[in-house]
C-alpha cells in the first residue's frame, strides 16, 4: 500500500543521490589535467597540496571513489577555498533556508495571481477579461526578470524608499525579489490553469452535473476547482527547476544572501568543495520534494490510489 510506494520512492531517491555522487566524482577526474590544479586555480600552493591529499589523488581510482562516497554520506565536504574556517554544510544549509523562503514566497505569490486570473479567464474564455489577462500574461513572460528586478529596485527601493534594495531584513526583503522571481512563473501557471479550466468545463461530468440542476457557482467552486488544482503539483515541481535559475540571478541582482548567490560566487571562483556541497544538498532536497509530491497525489487523487494498489 502506501508504505510500499513510499519505500519505492525512497529507494529511487537513494539511487538518484548515489548517481549524483558518482557524477561529481567522475566529472572532476574526466577533465584533462591535474584535478587539483583545475579546481584550485586561485588557490595557494598550500591549498593545492592540501587538496591533493584530501582528494587522495595518489591512490587507485576505486579506492578514491569509496573514500569519496564515505565522505559524502558523512557530510564531510572539506573546506571551502575562500572561507576555510566555516563549516561548509551548515553554511550551505543556512543559505538554502534563506533561498527557500524566497522561493516559497515567489511560488505563493505566483499561484495566488495565477489562480485568480487563470480560473476567471477559463470560465470567461474569449471575453474581454480573458484577452486582457492573456495580454498581461504575455507581457510577464517577455520581461527579463533580472532587468525587472533592477527596475524595481530603482523605483521602489531607491526612489520611493519603500523596500530595502539589498540584503535580508526579514519578510520585507522578500517582496521585491519575490516578485521578480515569480514573474515568469505567473505566466506559465496562468496559462496552464486557464487551459485546464476550459477543458474541465467542457467535460461530460461537469455537463452532467449541470443537467442535474446543480448551481453554477457550486460547480465551479467545488467540482471544477478541485479538478483544476490537482495537476498543479506536478507543474510546480517541474517549474521549480526553472525557478532555481531565476533565484540565482535575482539573488545576484538584489544581493540577497541565499543559496543562489552562494552558488554563483562559488562557481565563478571555482570553490570546488563548496560547489560540491551545494550540489549534494540540492539533490537531496529535490528527492525530498518529489517524494512530497508523490504523497500528495496519492492522498488527493483516487485514480492514483487505485493504480498503486493494483501493483
Amino acid at each position: 500500500m502506501i508504505s510500499r510506494m513510499l519505500l519505492n520512492r525512497l529507494l529511487f531517491g537513494f539511487v538518484v543521490v548515489f548517481g549524483v555522487i558518482t557524477i561529481l566524482f567522475a566529472v572532476l577526474r574526466v577533465i584533462p589535467g591535474d584535478p587539483a590544479r583545475v579546481l584550485a586555480t586561485a588557490g595557494t600552493d598550500e591549498q593545492i597540496k592540501e587538496l591533493r591529499k584530501t582528494l587522495g589523488l595518489e591512490k587507485p581510482l576505486t579506492t578514491q571513489y569509496f573514500i569519496f562516497l564515505g565522505k559524502m554520506i558523512k557530510g564531510d565536504f572539506g573546506k571551502s577555498f575562500y572561507s576555510p574556517q566555516e563549516n561548509i554544510l551548515s553554511l550551505v544549509l543556512k543559505r538554502a533556508v534563506t533561498s527557500l523562503r524566497l522561493a516559497f514566497f515567489a511560488i505563493f505569490l505566483a499561484l495566488g495571481i495565477a489562480l485568480l486570473l487563470g480560473i476567471l479567464s477559463g470560465i470567461y474564455a474569449g471575453s474581454i477579461f480573458d484577452r486582457v489577462s492573456l495580454g498581461f500574461i504575455m507581457i510577464c513572460q517577455s520581461l527579463p526578470n533580472f532587468w525587472l528586478g533592477m527596475i524595481l529596485v530603482l523605483f521602489f527601493a531607491i526612489k520611493l524608499n519603500v523596500f530595502p534594495a539589498t540584503g535580508d531584513h526579514g519578510f520585507i526583503s522578500l517582496i521585491l525579489p519575490g516578485t521578480a522571481v515569480g514573474l515568469n512563473l505567473v505566466a506559465v501557471l496562468t496559462r496552464f490553469i486557464r487551459l485546464n479550466m476550459i477543458d474541465i468545463l467542457n467535460t461530460d461530468y461537469i455537463k452532467a452535473a449541470r443537467a442535474r440542476g446543480i448551481r453554477e457557482s457550486s460547480i465551479i467552486l467545488r467540482y471544477a476547482f478541485r479538478n483544476c488544482i490537482l495537476p498543479l503539483f506536478t507543474i510546480v515541481t517541474v517549474q521549480f527547476g526553472v525557478l532555481i535559475g531565476g533565484i540565482v540571478i535575482i539573488e545576484f541582482v538584489f544581493d540577497y544572501p541565499g543559496l543562489g548567490l552562494l552558488t554563483l560566487n562559488a562557481v565563478l571562483r571555482r570553490d570546488y568543495p563548496l560547489v560540491q556541497a551545494i550540489i549534494m544538498v540540492v539533490a537531496v532536497l529535490f528527492v525530498f520534494l518529489n517524494l512530497l509530491t508523490d504523497i500528495s497525489y496519492y492522498a488527493l487523487d483516487p485514480r492514483v490510489r487505485k493504480a498503486q494498489l493494483s501493483q
Binding site: M138, P144, V242, G245, L264, V267, L268
Partner: protein
C-alpha cells in the same frame, strides 16, 4: 491504404500545403511585423547604426536620451560610461542576440528532435538509455549548468552556442519522442513499411515531413528563451565578452550608474522585452492559426 493515398498524405505534409492552410490573425501579423523589422535592422546593422559600437568618446560619456536634459540629437539614446553611442550598441547587440538565438535553436532543437525521433522510433534499450540522459540533464537547472561550463571553458561564440543548444535539446527530445511513438503507428507509416521503405526512409522522409513544420513553429519561441538566457549570462559576465556589445553586458555595464544614468541599463532590457514579446505574440498567433495549441510541452 494504397500507394495513391500514401502519396497524398506525404504531399500534404509538405511546407506549401501547410502554410497555405494558415489562417492569419492579429497576433501573428503584429508579432510578425515587429520580428521582420528587427531582423532587417539586425542584418543591416552596419548601415543602420549611426556609430561604430566600440567607438569611444569619453568626452561625451553618460549622455542621456535625446529628449532629456543634456541630451542631443547626436546620440539619440545617449551614451554609456565610455562615450559609446547606445543606439549603435543596441543595434549590434540585436544582431548578436538574433544570430545566437537562431543558431542555438537550429542546433539544439535539431539535435533534440533527432534524438527524440531515434528514441521514439526504435524504442527498447536505445529509448531507455537516451531518455535517462535526458532526465539527468533536465534535473539540473540550466543556468547553473551554463555557468559551470562557461567557467571552465572560455566564453566564445562556439562555447555559447554549445551551452544554449544543451539548454534546449532535452525538452525537444522528450516531446518528439512521445510524438514519434504515437505517430509511428499511423497508417501512412505502416503503409510505407509495407511498400518497402527502410527504417531510415520512414524516419527522414515520412515522419520528418510532418514533424519539421511542427517543430519549427514551437522552436521559434525558444529563440526568445535563448535571447533571455544570453542576456542573463552576459549580465553575469559569462556571455559575449566586451567590448563586443550584447544586451546582457550593456545592462551589466550600466548597473553601477543605475541611479544616475539609468538609461544604460533600462534600454537594453526594453529591447529584450520587445523582441521576446513579438516572438511570443507571433508564435501564439501561429499556433492559433494552425490549430496546434495542445502540442506545447
Amino acid at each position: 491504404m494504397g500507394r495513391k493515398e500514401l502519396a497524398e498524405v506525404l504531399t500534404k505534409s509538405r511546407f506549401g500545403y501547410f502554410f497555405r492552410s494558415i489562417q492569419f490573425n492579429n497576433s501573428m501579423i503584429v508579432g510578425g511585423i515587429i520580428i521582420l523589422i528587427l531582423v532587417v535592422v539586425a542584418i543591416s546593422a552596419p548601415c543602420m547604426a549611426p556609430y561604430d559600437p566600440e567607438d569611444q568618446d569619453v568626452a561625451n560619456s553618460l549622455m542621456p536620451i535625446m529628449s532629456m536634459e543634456g541630451g542631443s540629437s547626436d546620440h539619440i539614446l545617449g551614451t554609456d560610461a565610455l562615450g559609446r553611442d547606445l543606439l549603435s550598441r543596441l543595434i549590434f547587440g540585436l544582431r548578436t542576440s538574433l544570430f545566437i538565438g537562431f543558431a542555438s535553436v537550429i542546433i539544439g532543437v535539431g539535435f533534440g528532435t533527432f534524438i527524440g525521433l531515434i528514441a521514439g522510433y526504435f524504442g527498447g534499450w536505445i529509448d531507455t538509455l537516451l531518455m535517462r540522459l535526458v532526465d539527468m540533464q533536465l534535473a539540473f537547472p540550466v543556468l547553473i549548468l551554463a555557468v559551470i561550463i562557461l567557467t571552465v571553458a572560455p566564453p566564445s561564440i562556439p562555447t555559447l552556442l554549445l551551452v544554449f543548444s544543451l539548454a534546449l535539446w532535452p525538452v525537444y527530445a522528450r516531446v518528439v519522442r512521445v510524438w514519434t511513438i504515437v505517430e509511428k503507428q499511423a497508417e501512412y507509416v505502416t503503409a510505407g513499411r509495407m511498400v518497402g521503405a527502410s527504417h531510415l526512409r520512414v524516419i527522414f522522409n515520412y515522419l520528418c515531413r510532418v514533424l519539421v513544420p511542427l517543430v519549427a513553429i514551437i522552436g521559434t519561441v525558444d529563440i526568445a528563451t535563448i535571447i533571455i538566457l544570453e542576456a542573463i549570462l552576459g549580465f553575469l559576465g559569462l556571455g559575449v565578452q566586451p567590448p563586443t556589445p550584447s544586451w546582457g553586458n550593456i545592462i551589466a555595464d550600466g548597473r553601477i550608474y543605475i541611479t544616475t544614468a539609468w538609461w544604460i541599463s533600462f534600454l537594453p532590457g526594453l529591447a529584450i522585452f520587445v523582441s521576446v514579446f513579438s516572438l511570443n505574440l507571433f508564435v501564439d498567433g501561429l499556433q492559433e492559426g494552425t490549430k496546434l495549441e495542445r502540442i506545447r510541452k
